[in-house]
């Protein structure tokens, strides 16, 4: 369960968003410049809101009132970047193992096996390749595996399908839906394509670009 209230002044408008998401897929739909990526950055701790709070399962990640602002490293929030941001100088193996260094294991000693995860995404055979040698769809799957290896409690996906051709896109959308059923954590997916929203979304928020004035608060409940 994710609950958040975010207030952030941007250079061309003020972002004001209320979110409440159970283990669902929330779609943030809107044109570029409407603050979609900013919302993901605020949730992941990569930007700091001016005011508000973020609560993930019983942990307060950010609260302007209580002066809490936990760094991205401590948030346990998975983030799939728009261009995947796979480390270009590391192999697929090094990329997916990157998040495991120094991470404490669960009490029962179990962790997600990165190799198994890659296999389940159908990219296990690419383990010794570099990101530069992968297709868009393959990069996407590797980046998903890398984000999930750390067992996040929330997964953020920034335009995950925009760089892919139509066939790959449809296939991956089905996979993301299946993945969500397996993982049972909130997914927040940013897109500018309405068809993505219709296919995947349990809830959809539409953001509009506002050149002046304040944007209306968006209230979302389960």
């Amino acid at each position: 369960m994710l609950e958040a209230s975010l207030h952030k002044k941007l250079w061309h408008f003020t972002l004001d968003v209320q979110l409440k998401v159970a283990d669902q897929i929330l779609i943030l739909l809107g044109p570029s410049g409407s603050g979609k990526t900013t919302i993901l950055h605020l949730l992941a701790g990569l930007f700091k809101p001016d005011e508000g709070f973020i609560k993930l399962n019983d942990r307060v990640l950010y609260s302007s009132g209580e002066k809490i602002n936990s760094p991205p490293q401590a948030r346990n929030v998975g983030y799939l970047f728009q261009n995947y941001a796979l480390f270009p100088h590391m192999t697929v193996r090094q990329n997916v193992f990157y998040g495991l260094k120094g991470k404490r294991r669960k009490k029962d000693g179990s962790t997600v096996d990165p190799v198994e995860l890659l296999n389940s995404f159908g990219v296990g055979h690419l383990i010794d390749r570099y990101p530069g040698q992968l297709s868009g769809g393959e990069k996407q799957r590797v980046a998903l595996a890398r984000a999930l290896v750390v067992e996040p409690e929330l997964l953020l996906l920034d335009e995950p399908f925009s760089a892919l051709d139509k066939n790959t896109r449809t296939g991956l959308m089905q996979e993301v839906k299946k993945l969500h059923e397996q993982w049972q954590i909130p997914f927040i997916l940013v897109t500018h394509a309405e068809e993505d929203a219709q296919y995947l979304g349990d809830i959809t928020i539409t953001l509009e670009t506002r050149l002046t004035g304040e944007s209306a608060p968006k209230v979302v409940s389960m």
Binding site: H41, A44, G45, L46, P71, P72, Q73, A74, R75, N76, V77, G78, Y79, F81, N83, A85, F87, P88, H89, Y98, G99, K101, G102, K103, Y130, G132, R146, A147, V150
Partner: protein
């Protein structure tokens, strides 16, 4: 003049000075550049201009400035003299001159190199739980490395060729502070043309090989 009669002291000293200066510039310059690229603070532009200044000033001006600092009556020189240490007219003064003159080259190269690293890689590493120190050594530095290496080569080449400032603070004492560039100047002055030509050939071929090799290597390192 045969190779046996050749005085190798300037060659060995030049290499030693250039290598130590390059290490000093790298160890000071890379972390400083990284900090400057990240932090906004009052007077940053002034500091940046001051760092770059030795690149555009005549070396004699830099040399005179260094004399004011480390000379026998200089600010730092007096304090060091109190401890029984003298820097001027030792080969360490040549190292300091090369370091100051070559520093801006590393600063400019490293600045561009760090700028070229997509911030999303660092952001991704952060969401994966990596500490800032780990991110610097496993993500930022490896990705900026080709640019930093270019800076390293420029620094080394500049340090190896340093003449004006070196002459003013270290002098031209054969066997002690005489580097290749100062040796060439005084060899020509005193009509030792064979000596001058040999040193010119050595420094030209050596510099060419280093730059050629590094360019080849950097070409292979692009992702």
């Amino acid at each position: 003049m045969s190779l046996q009669e050749m005085d190798w002291h300037p060659v060995i000293l030049s290499l030693r000075v250039a290598i130590i200066a390059t290490i000093a510039v790298t160890c000071l310059g890379v972390p400083l550049t990284r900090l400057m690229a990240r932090k906004e603070f009052y007077g940053k532009d002034i500091l940046e201009a001051a760092i770059t200044l030795p690149m555009v000033l005549p070396p004699s001006v830099v040399g005179y400035g260094l004399l004011l600092l480390i000379g026998k009556n200089g600010l730092l020189g007096k304090a060091l003299a109190g401890m029984g240490l003298t820097l001027v007219f030792t080969w360490w003064a040549a190292v300091i001159a090369s370091t100051v003159v070559a520093f801006p080259l590393m600063y400019q190269s490293a600045k561009a190199a760090f700028k070229s690293v997509d911030v999303n890689y660092e952001k991704a590493a952060r969401t994966l739980g990596a500490s800032e120190v780990r991110i610097f050594f496993t993500v930022t530095l490896p990705l900026a490395w080709p640019g930093i290496l270019a800076g390293l080569v420029l620094t080394f080449a500049r340090a190896l060729g340093e003449f004006g400032a070196t002459l003013m603070v270290a002098g031209n004492i054969p066997g002690q502070t005489q580097t290749i560039p100062t040796a060439i100047y005084f060899a020509v002055e005193s009509g030792k043309n064979v000596m001058a030509r040999t040193l010119v050939a050595i420094i030209t071929v050596f510099s060419f090989i280093v730059i050629f090799w590094v360019n080849r290597w950097a070409k292979k390192q692009t992702y």
